[in-house]
Subunit: 408 residues, 2 copies
């Protein structure tokens, strides 16, 4: 139940990643995927202070290694180039060479410094990047017909069914600051980064360390709190670029509006995360697990994730079956300290367990509630002050269908 | 690739839980489920030394608490009584009273001591046990028409499609010792005990502490290494009863044949576990993940479990798609120390990754292999001596179908 409306922060209708001043984007079809756009970029008029967070998977894909190294070195990125259809993951030395060439050619084409180019890939693992197609894509980057943020948003998708975008505005030091974002899901989505790419931009100036800290903070409460299928991929990455075009004094933790900036960033990050969860492979519903009364925030997170990750909860929600025993079971195996006699559970406003005892409720009310397209599962452990929210989706026939034949 | 054939241990064709001397069993329909048998028992002619392992879920069901207390006290059980269709879990004080009454009435009916009766339940969570039906079941226990191990095996099933039974024989001190077992799956199956009940019997005499130790050892390499859906239930329990009817000197760790006895027990335990995995909800295949070359046995277990638990691996196997990138991804997020440049993966005998590099293989061979009804995923981390095997099943449309409307 994290607030999505905050005073002094305005959500922009149809906001997107190039809404902050000085950012542009584009996308095109270079031929990796059969028909859909598969090559895109975001560009800032000037090198932007950039923060990144990356998958914890032991196998990190080549583009991710390259990007991480650049950001760790100078924390400045001007162009982000992305392809879909091929993850360039588990592709050995050739994979690294390919990612480097993709970076180099993009730098030349866009006239930016090599180390100011970030590369990202998403798609099938273990197949070398078709560099002829990537080269064609890069050659076409200047062509005005490919410009436009919608093209970018489409080019990064894999099994996603919709593009994901959001933007908010707030005032800092009499400047209107905009934060925008784009992301893709939708399989291999699990806490600790998933086959998921997130790109967030802002025209605020922010000090590098503060920016990295801010990104880590909001990612832990948004991207790291969604799951579609429990699988964390090798390519996940969220980048946050701050190009300072509003010419404000660079923000840091000491600024009186820092927490407002963080809240705005959380809104963007959370908005993208929820879009990814709702568009999970085969999903028909967004599930939000709200846990409070946990001994710690970490415990609350673990419980919320256990609920949202349970295949049995996910199928019950799909079938609109108010079988709360499955929620209880998931809480029980979350390996957190739980007092069975204190726990309260409700499906939206429908109380089903109170102080550890089943509550008699109208099954048809429960069923009707679970038929909604957003379902809240609320848990109060009455055992502390820790709170957390996690997002996921239902598990459906279509999830199986999509994944039993992803490549064919 | 744990051995299933061991010299000096004979697997008995169609062996079962009452094959050891002095055990009998039965089952009947008492009315909890619509039509199928739902009430069963195993009985030993004399109180048997008994060991138990139980779910780690924070919410333990009432029957499990009662049984655990009895076994912890005297480690003697003569009758096990089980119902399906209702888990008597999360049913508060009434649940405990109901489980106690079930125990008490069974003791009277069978003429055994109260503390020598174990109770077990499996089915829906959060609904009180229909005691009128349980009482009817207990009254009918003496009726010869309900006798028979097949009736017992059927009575404990929920969404299982087949009964699970196995038995082996070995010679110890010139006595033929038999070990038999019965079990049920098939949803909420995950390492650390699942909605899973296992009953193992033997006519060997075994010292109580050694028996408990033996059960723990084999369960960690069998029942705790299977997963269907990652959900560990509130009711899981495996009991091992040794009634000593072969009148051997009680076995313990010092006996020269102890390790042979352990191997025989492992065969029974593993046989039941594999039957459960193969009969996982909606499953069409048994998947076996063999991991070697891990820094420790624990690391190997974690990697094997990560593979077998991955929805993406499970759907790929269902679709016979040799998309090994998903196996690599699962290994990568297992949180174990992995050297990406050393890893080897094969699908059965088909090598797909060697020393960290993709191997060119014939996709149609891979597809044909994955179409088999038992699929081996073999991983060598080349990073130590730890080995482990885990078992699971594919994720199919039918899993979703079964679980989207379990109760309706």
């Amino acid at each position: 139940m994290i607030a999505t409306e905050v005073k002094d922060i305005r959500k922009v209708e149809n906001g997107h990643v190039t809404m902050p001043k000085g950012f542009s984007a584009g996308g095109l079809h270079c031929g990796i995927r059969r028909k859909r756009l598969d090559f895109g970029w975001i560009h800032s008029d000037n090198p932007a202070t950039t923060a990144g967070v990356y998958t914890l998977n032991a196998f990190q894909a080549a583009p991710l290694k390259i990007t991480k190294e650049c950001i760790n070195k100078g924390q400045l990125i001007q162009t982000v180039v992305v392809n879909s259809g091929n993850a360039n993951s588990f592709t050995g030395k050739q994979g690294l060479l390919d990612a480097l060439e993709m970076q180099e050619l993009t730098a030349k084409k866009m006239g930016v410094a090599l180390e100011h180019v970030a590369v990202a890939s998403t798609g099938v693992i273990g197949v070398s990047l078709p560099m002829d197609k990537i080269r064609t894509g890069i050659e076409e980057m200047g062509n005005p017909e490919h410009a436009g943020v919608e093209n970018f948003e489409e080019a990064i998708l894999t099994t996603d069914t919709v593009t994901k975008h959001v933007a908010v505005q707030l005032e800092i030091d009499e400047k209107i600051i905009t934060i925008g974002g784009a992301a893709k899901g939708s399989g291999m989505i699990h806490p600790n980064m998933a086959t998921m790419l997130g790109f967030i931009t802002t025209d605020a100036a922010v000090e590098p360390d503060s920016l990295q800290h801010a990104l880590r903070t909001v990612v832990d409460k948004s991207f790291n709190m969604i799951t579609v299928d429990g699988d964390s991929s090798t390519n996940d990455m969220v980048l946050l670029m701050a190009n300072g075009q509003q010419e404000n004094m660079p923000l840091n933790e000491a600024h009186p509006k820092w927490s407002l900036f963080l809240q705005a960033l959380q809104m963007v990050s959370e908005g993208l995360s929820k879009s990814i969860a709702r568009d999970g492979e085969g999903a028909t519903k967004l599930i939000e697990a709200n846990v409070k009364g946990a001994p710690s925030e970490l415990a609350a997170k673990q419980v919320a994730k256990a609920i949202i990750s349970s295949n049995l909860v996910k199928t019950a929600v799909y079938g609109a079956d108010p079988n709360w025993g499955r929620i209880i079971t998931a809480i029980g195996y979350s390996e957190q300290p739980i007092d069975p006699d204190k726990i309260c559970v409700s499906l939206g406003d429908i109380e089903v367990v109170k102080d550890g005892c089943p509550v008699v409720f109208d099954e048809s009310d429960g069923k009707r509630y679970l038929e909604k397209d957003t379902v809240l599962l609320n848990v109060d452990l009455q055992n502390g002050l820790g709170e957390a929210t996690a997002w996921g989706c239902d598990l459906t026939y279509d999830y199986v269908k999509i994944n039993a034949s992803y490549r064919t």
